[in-house]
Assembly symmetry: C2
Homo-oligomer: 432 residues x 2
Amino acid sequence: MSTPPSKSRPHIVVVGAGFAGLNFCKDFPPGLARITLIDRQNHHLFQPLLYQVATAGLSAVDIAQPVRAILNDKPDLEVMMAEVTGFDLAARRVRCTGGELAYDYLILGLGGVASYFGHPEWAAHAPGLKSLDDALRIRRDILLAFERAETETDEQRRRELMTIVVVGGGPTGVELAGAFAELARTVLKRDFDRIDPTKARVILIEGSPRVLASFPPESSASALRQLERLGVEVRLGRHVEAVRAGEVVVGGEVIRAANIIWGAGVAANPLTLSLGAETDRAGRVKILPDLSLPGHPEVFALGDMTALTDRRGRVVPGLCPAAIQMGQHAARVVADDLRAGGQSPERRKAYAYFDKGSMATIGRSKAVAVLGRFHFSGYPAWVLWLCVHLLFLVGFRNKFSVLSQWIYSYVTYKRGARIITGVSSGNPAGSA
Amino acid sequence: MSTPPSKSRPHIVVVGAGFAGLNFCKDFPPGLARITLIDRQNHHLFQPLLYQVATAGLSAVDIAQPVRAILNDKPDLEVMMAEVTGFDLAARRVRCTGGELAYDYLILGLGGVASYFGHPEWAAHAPGLKSLDDALRIRRDILLAFERAETETDEQRRRELMTIVVVGGGPTGVELAGAFAELARTVLKRDFDRIDPTKARVILIEGSPRVLASFPPESSASALRQLERLGVEVRLGRHVEAVRAGEVVVGGEVIRAANIIWGAGVAANPLTLSLGAETDRAGRVKILPDLSLPGHPEVFALGDMTALTDRRGRVVPGLCPAAIQMGQHAARVVADDLRAGGQSPERRKAYAYFDKGSMATIGRSKAVAVLGRFHFSGYPAWVLWLCVHLLFLVGFRNKFSVLSQWIYSYVTYKRGARIITGVSSGNPAGSA
């Protein structure tokens, strides 16, 4: 195809190399525009497996892929590692560390952050799980707590060190709680002499009356049974009233725990505020059916940062399949615009969420899956979960490495990533 | 075998889970004593491959193995994750975070630290490579420098960001310099749009007239040729006069470089000072032929922290084969003592270093190896190097994972671990 000199071509700035931004870049046809992809990290993160890094099942590099490596076959795409600090929609400019970028189209996939329901001060005592660094910090803190318990003489303090509280009974919370319980009962069991890791407490707190509230009731019930079989204490219909250092208050009860992990609400990235667009209570941007920002046909917001009811009247969930689909849809819309020689909002297609189903894994051979009318649980759901996640993992090397580690863990009941780093005096760095 | 109640048995405290301490624990016969192994990390580190983590070839967990996992088949051994703060040899006590430990035998494998030749202030600007955290910090800083160069407009500054200085032409320095050159020329080459990573400068500085001074002259010559073929600028017979932020002064010449890595001298761990034993200029403890401390037949010092001329008159080198052998020798000596019903220094065997040969890899298909009278270089040496290192790597999973990543990198010219972590705002944690 003939490619006009890049300067003459419209400039598309994509912010965020998550599922939405990455899939926009992958699907956008070559030759129509120059694309600049900005992310503050140098890697795309496969978030659905992030909890396995936090629970020592996988290493950080297994679920991350350098953005440049994924996209280095795109001739008219540039990757920039920079922090976006704000937007000037009127002037069509993105402000970021090291300058400003002018755009003709702006594609936003800023993702979400943990929401503490108006209690930002809780964040310090109950970290969320959004980035590799979060996962590595959680892994380190959990493993360190068991090490300290081993040398702790005070019985009460030892119990606290061996207690993990997970807040939020959605997929993230359920998967974390299940994996922690399994880590203690099957993996760490043989590692210690004085403490008995199988006595570790894992407490899952959920405000609604059931776990996996977005799943059908029977899936929730099955997930609950499977969690309890793993020894997870599930507290349903209980709201967190306070979080302090090593302490969480739930329904009047005070639970002392060395580790409190926040798997609850997701809010939009604070950057979205600087868009000046209308948002819902969680700060998610309300967008039009074509995924563009009201009043700004040249700006698209995608994925977890958005609140949208699609053309079929479905609320689009904050799941990675939705983010992927929105990225692909936006790529089509912008490409059509450019082929038509300019913006034509009236002719744009409206996005419809295609539900590929949802699944959550609870532990070794335990999971629930919903595919349309079909509900699976236990072993078949677990196998399904493995295949789907392996399939969508970006990069051959990662697929291969993850598969071999899963097989290894399954056969040996060991986990390779039980390594504590980032504790040596004054070390700012991180990750393998 | 009949095992008397543990309290009645003598107590051996082993400090350090490096090659020396770990191999003492592995080889010490069961039933003779209680052993407590103390390390401030929870993992044993396979240091010979540490440079591959620093150069994004391997992930941290590939070369680390949880100490508890390695030794959990030892009935009378306890692992303690704690920081040793000092020794009271007279009272036979080890001071560490969380209390004191009494011992009947003390086995010390404290390892070494980077030596800045009396200029500790250089450490801040030229990190050494001793721990996983060091390696991860170096990997992050190198990858970040290329990312910044990509968006840097000032030509001079950009050149500095793409310059890496390695100080020290020993195995560590040579392996680092070779791997950095290769990372830039073959791996990062395709990743960037504005900069040309193949133009990156890697400068290796060595004070003596040749690299790998401990190898035979022809090996040094061949290593030099192979380094230069990779584009490494080797400065021989030049001493570092000053190190400042982003700047190193060598023989009057000022070299500006965003990354300066210290691969030079090794000094003993500062803790050795608190032993009050006689040391050499590098602070290494002078020990007796049986590896015990003069005047303290119940205290053994092993590995990099020691200075010893063995019974054959050979200076024992600071290499991991020596550390392994010393650990095994000490285990035999202490076991003989106990079987003989007490210390019998006069009857103890003297240690003799068995030279298994030495090798260094310079890059893809490039290496030098010396086995007795046989000298290899280039491809055969490199294959030999691969086999030996894979063979000695602890843990099946690690062997498997490392082998598969080596194959992957060799075939695809890619490196899986090009992931930057530990940079998200205020993240104290680290590592995968």
